[in-house]
Structures are given as C-alpha cells and as structure tokens.
C-alpha cells in the first residue's frame, strides 16, 4: 500500500503534479522522502508540521536562507532541518540551459533536489537543505555564477519584466536597470539591517507585467511623456481587415482618440497611457519617444494595515544609464525609511503614518497632482513656521 495515499490523489488529473516531482526525488534521496512523508502527514492532520526557523545562513550574509525545522519528534522525522536557499534569478528570468544544468547539479549534490521555480518574489528557491549543507552549497553556487537573494529585513531580490528582450512596448531597459540596481544594492540585499523587507520591481511599460505597483515597495515603471506614435498606414490596414477602429477609439478611457475613417488622431495631453489602444492595434501604435519612468511607492500585502497598492511619488524621471538619479532616489528612500520606521513597518505604512509632506521633503521631490486621485477632503493640514512667515 502507498505511504502517501492522500498525496497520491494529487497525481490524478491532467495538470502536471508537484507530487510526482517530489516522488521523483524521494525515490532517490531519503532526505527528500522524509519531507514527502511529513507532507502526507499534514494532509492527514490538516496542519503544518514546520516550526519557526532558528538563525541559519552562510558566512558573511544575513539573508538569503530561510531556516526551517520540523516540529515532529525525531523518531518520526529523522532529518528535521529543511532550510531553503533563495537564489537570485538573472534579469527577466532568462536562462541558458548551461546555467540551469549547473544549478541542478549543485542542488542535487547539496540538497533535497526540490526547486520552487520560481518564488513569488522572483528567486529560484532551493527547497530543503540541512544546516551543514548551506555553506558548501553557497560556495558551489558562487562558483557557477549564482548568488543568494534577500530575506529578512533587507532589500529583497528585485524582479523585472523581459522588456526590451522581446517587447515593443518597453520604454526602458528593464533588464539592465534590474542588473545595475541589484549590483548597486548587493550589501543591502545580503546583510539585513533594515526595519523590515523592501521590494523593488521594474516593469517596462504601464502594463506592469511584474505587478510592481501591487507587490513592490518601490515600483519603477516605464512610460513616456510625449505622444503615442500612430502609423496611419497600419491603422488603415487594420480597418481594411475588419478591425473596428471606432470601437478602439471609443474605449479610450479619457476619450483622447478620434477616428474619422481615415486617420486616427490622438490628443496627446489627454492620453493617460493606459495601453489599451496599443494592445488593440499592436502593429499601428507605439509608445512615444520621450521615455522614462513613473515611480510608485508602498505596494505590499496585508500585514498590518491591510494590503497597499503603490502610489505615485515621482510622476516622471529619466532612466538612462548609468541610472544615477534612480539610484540616488532609491538610497534616499532607504535611508529615510531606515531612520524613521518602527520594527516591521513597511515604507508605505511609514509614509501613511507620517504623511506624504514629510516624505516628499525628505527625498526632495515636489508635490504633484499626479500623486493623488483627488486632493484632501478634510481641512486638517499643517503649516511650518517658515511657511507662515513666507505666505503671510
């Protein structure tokens, strides 16, 4: 009889099964099998059997490893140490098979052989290593060109969309910004010293294919300041093929498009760069030429005050190599947050607590109507002593 009757149920059905994958490793590694059996037990008892991790890690780093121990007695779970290593992915999750194969070899040698490919933040999660394996595994990873990502109170592993590698809409070099910022922040990623986590995600255009605005403390999103570029010939081509151009214009949220049967005209200052017309007519419409980024702050999940969606803190900034302005801004934000936040307070929560006015002053950004859907509805605003003398 099967040792994992409940998990076996999850091998049924058309979708490829993670249980099958786990069994493949369990078949060759007793360590991996222990993990599988503990999982079966959780399925029976409907409760997790992991407990809080102690502090484990690799030499010189404070982050990148999640310590994890089984709460089962040793006679049941002989290998209670099941830590994970978070390995930083290459920009845009592009890989050569050469690199991937090396990774598999290292991991097969040192760990369970299970990989969470990828974690929601973006890392390659090497799932299940014993304490003694962490250091050698890390050194082997370094030797094949991989490094750890973030965990704990640090800058977490960044992520970015594939951008210019395949997408005509990318207004910025997402891969390069990812790489440069990651290199710039190696210390902050590997050595937790902040009040809590800090996530950065980079998307090439307002479509935001990494959901940066919802999941990153700092969302860097490509955009343009001039007009979309319309290839009228291509528009007419679409029309000829039966695409309803009038309907495309009608769906423009700010009503910035007009189609007279021959030409599709845009009112550039009314366009909010929603990407709808670009999506509808990809051959005919492209982003403008004056490109840069909009920066949003504060996206995060539930804890403590409910989920936050990031909001605009810089409507537009140029983002050309070597990204000096971007890097400086990032550092200013990190410093201000580090100095002012309480333990486990994300940067968005801090700004909510102390107010945008203090934040904007600290990072030296001017207030702009682009930062809000609407101005305040309450009369509770502050005047600094200096202002009182100025404004009269």
């Amino acid at each position: 009889m099967s040792e994992t009757p409940l998990l076996d149920e999850l091998e049924k059905g058309r979708w490829p099964s993670f249980v099958t994958e786990m069994k493949r490793m369990a078949a060759v590694k007793p360590y991996s099998k222990n993990i599988l059996l503990q999982l079966e037990r959780s399925y029976v008892e409907r409760v997790t059997h992991w407990k809080h991790g102690g502090i484990v890690g690799v030499r010189g780093y404070g982050g990148g490893v999640i310590g994890r121990y089984s709460d089962l007695p040793p006679e049941v779970m002989q290998t209670p140490e099941v830590h994970t290593l978070r390995v930083a992915q290459p920009a845009g999750w592009f890989y050569s098979t050469k690199a991937l194969r090396k990774l598999c070899d290292v991991w097969e040698k040192h760990g369970s052989g299970f990989i969470n490919l990828h974690g929601s933040t973006g890392d390659i999660i090497l799932l299940g290593a014993q304490t003694a394996s962490l250091q050698p595994c890390f050194e082997d990873l370094i030797s094949i060109g991989f490094d750890l990502g973030g965990s704990g109170g640090d800058v977490r592993t960044l992520s970015c969309c594939g951008g210019p590698a395949f997408c005509q809409w990318s207004c910025i070099d997402t891969l390069d910004i990812y790489h440069e910022l990651t290199m710039e922040l190696q210390d902050e990623i590997h050595r937790p010293r902040f009040p809590y986590k800090f996530k950065i995600k980079i998307a090439g255009c307002p479509n935001d294919c990494v959901a940066a605005l919802a999941r990153a403390d700092l969302a860097i999103i490509g955009t343009w300041r001039d007009s979309i570029k319309i290839d009228q010939e291509a528009v007419r081509e679409y029309a000829k093929k039966g695409v309803n151009i009038a309907a495309v214009a009608a769906r423009c949220p700010p009503q910035a498009l007009e189609w007279d049967g021959k030409e599709l005209r845009v009112i550039p200052e009314d366009c909010t760069r929603c990407m709808k017309c670009l999506s509808a007519l990809p051959k005919a419409i492209l982003p403008g030429d004056d490109r840069g980024v909009s920066i949003l702050l504060g996206g995060k999940a539930t804890i403590l005050q409910g989920a936050f969606l990031g909001w605009v803190i810089v409507p537009f900034m140029k983002a050309d190599k070597p990204y000096r302005e971007l890097k400086e801004l990032t550092r200013k934000i990190l410093d201000w947050w580090d100095e002012n936040a309480k333990t486990r307070e994300r940067v968005g929560e801090l700004v909510y607590r102390v107010g945008m006015r203090n934040f904007l002053k600290a990072i030296g950004q001017p207030p702009a109507p682009q930062m809000v859907y609407a101005p305040r509805a309450n009369p509770y605003y502050f005047w600094s002593p200096e202002e009182l003398e100025e404004v009269k």
């Binding site: 006015r357 002053k361 109507p369």
Partner: protein, 357 residues
C-alpha cells in the same frame, strides 16, 4: 383645578396642514410634472390639471422683522397669504393665478429681490453666522456671501450655466452647513496652535474631554497645573479643543485665513462627492474679501468655459482629471493638497495612468 396657568411645552412646530397653500394641499401627492418657465419660475401641473407657479426669490439670510413683514405683504397680494422657504433658504411665492405673475415679478424687481436660482443657475449660498454671532468664527460668512453674490449675481438670475452651482461658506472648521459637499466652498482656517490659558482650563474644562477632543492627539494632560500641554508639531489648528474649552484660545487674526474647496455635491446622478481642497491659503480680508471672490470667479470661469452641458464642477473635474484642473485654473499644487489624515490612503494615485498636466 388650580388658578395657575398650565405651563405648556412640547407642542412641536405648527402643523403643515395649516401652513401649506390650499391648492397645494388639494393636489397633495397628485402632481404630474413640472416645467421651467423662466429663471426662478417653475410650473407644477397636477393630475387633475391644476397649475401652480412657484416663484423663487433670494433673501439676505439674516433679515429684520420688517423684511419678513414685507415678504408677507407680497405673499398676501400674490400668493394667497402662503409662502415656502427652500432648503437653501430662498423664499418661494406660490402663484395659482397666472395673471398675477407679472405683478409679482415687477414688485420683486422694484424691491431688488433677485428672482432666479432654478435649473442650471447659481443657487443660494449656504452660509453661517460668522462674526454676527459665533464665538468660533474666523471669518464673517454673511459678509463674504454678500461679496460673492454681488460678483456672481448674473449667474443667479440666468439658468444657462453648464450645471447647478452650489456654494457654501463656513466661518470655521466645524463647517456648519454644506461646505463638505458643495461645488465651491470657503472655510475659515487657523494656522497656529491654540494658546493654553491654564487658569481657564483648570477652572472651566473637563480635562479628559478636552484631551479626547483633539483629532491628532496633540493634547496631553498636565496634572501638575490641572491643565494641558499642546504638542505644537501635531496640532493642525482644527479648533476643536477651543469648542470644548474656552481656555484653548485659538483666534489669531495675524495668521487666520481662508481656504477654498471645490467639486463636492450631495447628489448628482452618481455617488455624492466631498468638496476637495483647491486653495489652502487666502487672506482674511474684510469687508469684501476680494482675493476670495477672484479665486472663486477664476474657477467658475474655467468651468463655464470648459465644461460640457450638464456638468457640475465635480463632474467636470472628474472628466478632465485633477491634474488638468490645476493646470486650467493655474492654482499651485502643494503638499497641503495631499491628504495625510485617516483616510488618506484611498486618495493616493495607485496607477501610472494620469495626465501630465
């Protein structure tokens, strides 16, 4: 039964049956439709064919008994001894005889009572008592109302604005009236924390209530002097402590000012909208507050010029966006415009989709 006169209380207001014009009573609940006849005149037609003209005139909200008697004289002559006041404090004469309309209008014109305020017009300004009667008044609402009315007079007697224009004025942050849901509004504002008079506080005020009155928790008890201390950095000058305790003296003519708000309404064919901050500082400049009047005029002109028919100020701003509003009106956007109170978060723009200007 003793010879003592019984002390009567709790009779409540007069019964409406005695107060409503008999023709309105006759057709009570049986109205069929209304028609805008001319600015200030609405015809109501009932199911059994009766026709009534309601003629709307503005009055200065603060009046003398002589004025009310004049009003009664007019009503006796033209509307059978009955009038109605509206929820915005206009008066309405209820004319059942069409032939009396001209006379009524002539008489009102002669007395200088503006007739209008119906349809897409400037409505009566909802305002408060100001220096005429209130101890927390920072400005004089009746005075500013008069100055605004003089400037905007034509918009009351015409009805061809893009939409209704509802203005409100409150002389302090208590915002009596409709400031928080008006197309355009002014509020008197402090800009300095209260000065604590320990003597008054200790004698007249309940410390826990006083401490609790502060929305930002800027007030701490100071038990040693049976008074309180204000953390000036946290104070945003709402004056609520002064309302609760006279020892928290907050008036400061040197710094007190006005603010202007736009885009609110209580119902406009969609969910209601709060008024929102347009200008955080305008000087408190009696007797005619020219800077405020001009600021209002500028926004109203931009609205008239740019709005589509049917759009109230808030609808217009919703269509064009606040970015564009600040561009068109040339009002500077400051850190004060960005909310930092309890419900600030939902006002933050969580998208890259906005206009550059």
């Amino acid at each position: 039964m003793s010879g003592e006169k019984k002390y009567i209380t709790d009779i409540g207001p007069p019964h409406y049956r005695e107060m409503v014009h008999p023709v309105l009573m006759k057709n009570y609940g049986k109205w069929r439709y209304h028609e805008y006849v001319a600015p200030g005149i609405i015809k109501h037609v009932s199911m059994n064919g009766d026709e009534v003209y309601m003629v709307r005139a503005a009055i200065p909200k603060i009046v003398s008994v002589y004025f009310v008697r004049e009003l009664c004289d007019i009503a006796d002559k033209y509307s059978d001894g009955y009038v109605k006041f509206t929820s915005r404090h206009n008066v309405e004469f209820i004319v059942t005889d069409k032939n009396k309309l001209d006379g009524l209008l002539r008489e009102l014109r002669e007395r200088g009572w503006p007739v209008g305020g119906t349809g897409r017009s400037l409505k009566a300004i909802i305002h408060t008592q100001g220096w005429v009667h209130c101890h927390t008044a920072i400005i004089d609402a009746p005075g500013l109302a008069k100055a605004l009315y003089d400037e905007l007079y034509d918009y009351f007697v015409r009805d061809d604005l893009p939409g209704k224009l509802k203005i409100a004025i409150a002389c302090c942050l208590n915002m009596c009236g409709a400031v928080h849901c008006s197309d355009l509004a002014f509020v008197g504002m402090h800009r300095k924390p209260p000065v604590v008079n320990d003597d008054i506080v200790s004698r007249l005020c309940e410390i826990p209530t006083l401490v609790a009155s502060c929305p930002t928790a800027a007030i701490r008890p100071a038990p040693e002097k049976k008074s309180v201390i204000v953390n000036e950095e946290r104070c945003m000058y709402c004056g609520n402590c002064y309302t609760v305790c006279p020892g928290m003296f907050i008036h400061n003519p040197k710094y007190d000012c006005l603010s202007m708000w736009v885009g609110g309404n209580a119902v406009a064919g969609g969910p209601p909208e709060f008024s929102r901050l347009a200008i955080p500082y305008l000087p408190n400049n009696p007797p005619r507050w020219p800077e405020c009047v001009q600021a209002a005029k500028k926004v109203i002109d931009a609205w008239i010029k740019n709005a589509k028919k049917g759009e109230r100020i808030g609808d217009w701003i919703k269509r064009i966006g606040w970015e564009r509003f600040f561009t068109l009106t040339e009002i500077p956007f400051t850190d004060k415009h960005i909310d930092d109170f309890i419900f600030s978060l939902p006002t933050f723009r969580t998208t890259t989709q906005f206009k550059w200007r």
